[in-house]
Amino acid sequence: MIGVAFRRLLSAIPVLLIVSLISFGLMRLIPGDPAAAIAGVSATPAQIEQLRRDLGLDEPIYLQLIDYYRGLAQGDLGRSLLLGTGVFAATMERLPVTIGLSLYAMVFTLLIGIASGIIAALRQNTWIDQAAMMFAMIGISVPNFFLGLLMIILFAVHLGWLPSGGYVPFSDDPVGWLRSLAMPAFSLALLQAGLLARITRSSMLEVLRQDYIRTARAKGLSQRKVVLKHALSNALIPIVTVVGIIVSLLLSGAVVTEALFSIPGMGQLLTQAVLNRDYPMVQGGLLLVTTFLVMVNITVDVLYAVLDPRVRYE
């Protein structure tokens, strides 16, 4: 198992290199000038040129790239052109907010998705199955910003149960955090939950047909044990693979959700950075988000080995 984790860690290095190269290249391919953005509309061309020189943007691109990698090798992601603070510090202020929101949404996703998938599979072709799958379809079809808007109208405006937006840090007030992120997390989760419900259902149906399920029942095990131990442990193997993908979907979905609920997360930070051509911020921020995703996927691979002994012993 440690071997699996180690091998995956090594293979993460080229992934991060490629991502850093793409983010570097993409930012320079899109039109726009960070110096002009920072200097403002009233700046003279001479001032902008001066600023460009100060920021090192007049150098050839390959020199900028070498500089960038030299910094990375020393663990320095550079300074944000817009905020003036270090990219790492700025990201560390925002990334936890987004990860917190994504994990919160993940809990909703897993609870709703797996539970409804199992129930639908156990009651295959009954009205319960059809109702569960219909809700899953609605979850998949309704855009999460639209769902978010509807939720704000109902729960914040009409009922006044939850705040319509804003963010309370977990360290300040855990209950406030739970309340402030309840609607964002739920609206973010529903699409993924619908997806997961359908995958869980088909995976469970496949497993429930297997011979070893019949064996488990022939041994006199209770229905609970047959379903939750013997069936689910096998059905989870394909589900876990999807969970890695779901985390990345949640992170990208968070950009829109953060804008809608005015949550100061990575989405806001990166949108600002892209609009202002804040090269170091975009490059560093993307690299850190990618690092997080790579770690999630390594965890998924290790989990895979935990769940399936056939993988473990290969």
Partner: protein, 323 residues
């Protein structure tokens, strides 16, 4: 004493073409310690009979349309899930045809044996482990204590079937149903598994219901034989009687299909035609379209199972005259 008594058992399946009976009016009984062989072609209803007794068929589409099963004096048909779970394991247990897929791939074999015992008895973890090792020892798995933590994929088919047997016997059942236990195994392993079953029968004194399409397996193991065709029992007799003078033309056909080393037989005889699908069974005797002795009356009514001599019954209108 009668251990298992099956009376008029009819199991129906809902299909696209309406409800069809997979088995019909199946009756037989089994004494303590006895080995009953159930023989027939694939699709004759052997497995459905076993799975109905164990209540392991998915309902729906399956349904017990008629009949009763009594085990150890208790009526099984109509028992609720919980009561049936208590029967499976210490009462009746079962092993299956496919050892490669019958064990759960993600749990160690020790875990799977121990949970069987734990489902029916209150034992400490170390006692469970001891019992599981003991069982693996009994079924001939070498260095059992070391292999307890192995996973199914680390074992061969023969070893997995041994594990299945260990699991089935872990709660000391009164009846073991073995559904084609050797069909998927190599010939040499087949003999070993059958020997093992016979030894364990002698040691534990349980009754065995062995389901097979292989007359050789029947000859080696069974005390009494039940022949099934197209969902119905067509002949029943002690094993020596069946091999000596079968009464039903189908049973004769089955025996003629067995190659012999000693007898001088010009060529193997195959029964013409194929087993009819449940939804397309012919009227009257279901074997009549394939039977060389069939007369007009054979397709008019289903012949009843009649006692022709002591402990020998057959369902054929012409059994007596052909004998």
């Amino acid at each position: 004493m009668t251990l298992l008594d099956v009376r008029g058992l009819t199991t129906a399946f809902m299909t696209g073409r309406g409800e069809v009976n997979a088995i019909e009016d199946v009756s037989f009984s089994l004494k303590e310690g006895e080995i009953l062989g159930i023989v027939g072609e694939s699709g004759s209803g052997k497995s459905v009979t076993a799975l109905t007794i164990m209540d392991l068929l998915p309902k729906p589409p399956a349904r017990i349309a008629a009949g009763d099963v009594h085990f150890n004096g208790q009526r099984l048909t109509g028992l609720n899930d919980r009561a049936m779970q208590a029967i499976r394991g210490p009462g009746i247990s079962m092993i299956f045809q496919e050892p490669m897929t019958s064990l759960n791939p993600v749990f160690s074999i020790g875990d799977q044996i121990m949970e069987t015992i734990a489902a029916h008895e209150r034992l400490s973890k170390s006692d469970l482990r001891k019992r599981a090792i003991d069982m693996l020892d009994k079924v001939g798995i070498p260095s059992a204590s070391r292999r307890l933590d192995d996973y199914p994929h680390q074992m061969s088919g023969g070893q997995r079937q041994r594990v299945m047997i260990a699991m089935a016997l872990a709660c000391n059942p009164k009846l073991l149903i073995a559904d084609e236990p050797t069909t998927a195994l190599d010939v040499t392993i087949q003999a070993q598994i059958l020997d093992l079953l016979m030894d364990l029968r002698d040691e534990y004194g349980m009754a065995i219901m062995i389901i097979t399409h292989n007359m050789g397996v029947i000859a080696e193991t069974a005390d009494r034989v039940l022949v099934m065709y197209a969902g119905r029992v067509i002949e029943e007799a002690p094993v020596a009687t069946i091999f000596d003078h079968p009464m039903h033309p189908y049973t004769r056909g089955l025996l003629e299909c067995v190659p012999s080393l000693t007898e001088d037989r010009p060529r193997l005889v195959a029964i013409p035609g194929t087993l009819p699908e449940p939804a397309r069974r012919p009227p009257g005797c279901r074997f009549s379209p394939r039977c060389t002795y069939a007369v007009a009356s054979c397709s008019a009514a289903i012949p009843p199972l009649e006692a022709l001599e002591t402990a020998h019954t057959a369902a054929c209108f012409r059994a007596r005259e052909l004998a």
